[in-house]
């Protein structure tokens, strides 16, 4: 029965991973930009969630759209101010720029919020529910449900709306898209905003079941790379599946081997997929 528990725990964690990685996949797919600042924006989301709860009493499970909107605005600003200038430059400069943004955000967070670990005590998130011999944290279930709903909403947005069509067009061909009357700059800004908002909302949802400090995001940047590679670079559906898969893989490693090696397994999977199946596990090509 324990393996089933590990599997289901993995799915619950993986749901949040799916949301984070969908954001990164969207940014990569549309802008060809590897966003090294993804985890830093997730960290901002956790702090918004933290101060929203402690200062304003806003429950993260209800206030997450607000935090998503704030991060969307911050990201669009960052795009216009900085990221725009390296679009079309080589990936060398893009990586250095986003890494610079990441360090600056982490450093600012240390200055403004301090380096301490912070946690909130949300009664509903700490409850445990049982299904026969299986036990689940209500907080994880809620985070999972909201994340998955958002991933599905994002996919519907991309496939159903006019803006979604424009985004997909830019992803397909950046040169031809403007000839079809698409404003590529605007689409890029919105894409960057949406992708970052995914990370930020995921951070807001993680806070009740986790903790935060300014460097909390680092592992998530790396995890979302792993997932995006697993799912096929740039595919949002692939990233969602990859997120669930990585969550399960981590929990199984923790269950069969040791908790602390889960990270190593991540990276081994990552290198193996890149070397032997670079189109991703679900890629068709």
């Amino acid at each position: 029965m324990q393996w089933l528990q590990a599997f289901l725990n993995g799915l619950l964690v993986g749901g949040v991973y799916a949301l984070i990685a969908s954001g990164m996949a969207l940014i990569f797919g549309v802008m060809r930009l590897v966003n090294f600042a993804h985890g830093a924006f997730l960290m901002l989301g956790t702090y918004l969630s933290f101060y929203g709860w402690t200062l304003l009493g806003l429950n993260p499970y209800l206030a997450f759209p607000l935090w998503g909107a704030v991060l969307f605005a911050v990201a669009v600003g960052t795009y216009w101010l900085l990221v725009r200038r390296v679009m079309g430059a080589n990936d060398f400069l893009q990586i250095l720029l986003t890494e610079g943004i990441s360090l600056a955000l982490i450093g600012l967070a240390q200055l403004v919020f301090g380096a301490d670990y912070r946690q909130i005590n949300l009664p509903i998130a700490n409850r445990i529910t049982s299904l026969g011999p299986l036990h689940f944290s209500v907080g994880y279930i809620l985070s999972f449900a909201v994340s998955l709903a958002l991933v599905i909403a994002l996919q519907q947005f991309l496939s159903r709306t006019e803006m979604g069509r424009a985004i997909r067009a830019v992803a397909q061909n950046r040169t031809v898209a403007p000839l079809m009357g698409i404003r590529v700059e605007r689409v890029s800004a919105i894409t960057f905003g949406l992708g970052i908002a995914c990370a930020g909302v995921a951070g807001a949802l993680l806070l009740p079941v986790f903790w935060t400090n300014p460097t909390v995001g680092g592992p998530y940047t790396l995890k979302s790379f792993v997932i995006v590679v697993l799912g096929g670079m740039g595919s949002v559906q692939g990233a969602a599946l990859g997120g669930l898969l990585l969550g399960v893989a981590e929990q199984f490693t923790a269950y069969t081997w040791a908790d602390r090696y889960a990270e190593v397994v991540n990276f081994v999977i990552f290198l193996a997929v890149l070397l032997f199946r670079p189109q991703g596990l679900f890629g068709g090509k």
Partner: protein, 319 residues
Amino acid sequence: MRRLPSWWPTVLFFAAVTSMPLWMHDGYVLQLVFRVIVFAVLGIAWNFVGGYAGQLSLGHVAYFGIGAYAMTLSTERIGWSPWFGVVLGAVLAAVMALLIGGVTFRLRGPYFTLSTIAAAEIIRVLVQNQDELTHGAVGTNAPLLFQAPDLDAKFFYGAMPLLGGAFALASWIHGSRFGYRLRAIRENENTAMAVGVNPAVDKLLALLPSAMVTALAGSIYASYFSFVGPDTVLTLEISVQAALIAMLGGAATVWGPILGSIVLTLTAEIFKTYFEHTHLVVYGLLLIVVVIFLPGGVISLFQRRWKFRREAGPIGAQQ
């Protein structure tokens, strides 16, 4: 007027820096300059791979950490002199470079960068969790390479040959056929192959000295601060620092990393006296500024002036 020979600034620079402990007795300043030297070495070593060959490695901390840990653990477990540990570290780093490079150099662009981070992280997590061998996450004391008194001056003289060696190696690469092959790989790997360059071999040949020099820097750094731990000698931050120093000064230039290290270390130090926890903000902002406004690095400011004065430079001297 006869022009001075082109090597005079180099000689002047090294003479001035080497003589420093003779006339500078302030331990704080010597410590600061020691850090500038070690990080300049790190930047120079990174430059072989990141600057000349254009392969954005963010995993160089792996070699730095191997150097630091090899020195510490061999001294502690086998009872050798730490100097043997330093050599062992460089050898182990070379072996790891072949392993890591063999895998990661098959990838290009962002995939390469990510795989170097992954390799370094794998090493960090393994070190962190092999408590019996490595003392795990808490770390341990590193042995001293020199004995008191005058530790500051001795470490200073220990680091200078490393800087001189790295600088000489960089100067050689800069003007050699090997250096031009690396630049060809940076500009376009496929075209380089078409003109007979073997990128797989040359990239590894660039990584080998790069990893070994980085490991040496790691050993002396750990010994100076007499501590090794996964959070100090195996963090992503050091990899970023190596890249930032080279880029800030000027990638694929001989003097760039030295300039970069001076600028970065001093800026971080100045801000540190005003606020706590500022070094990350400083690194981040400097990275952003360099990428957007000064992709040629600080050195490009001087180069532009020199070019203006001399009018005609060699063809291809501009970026």
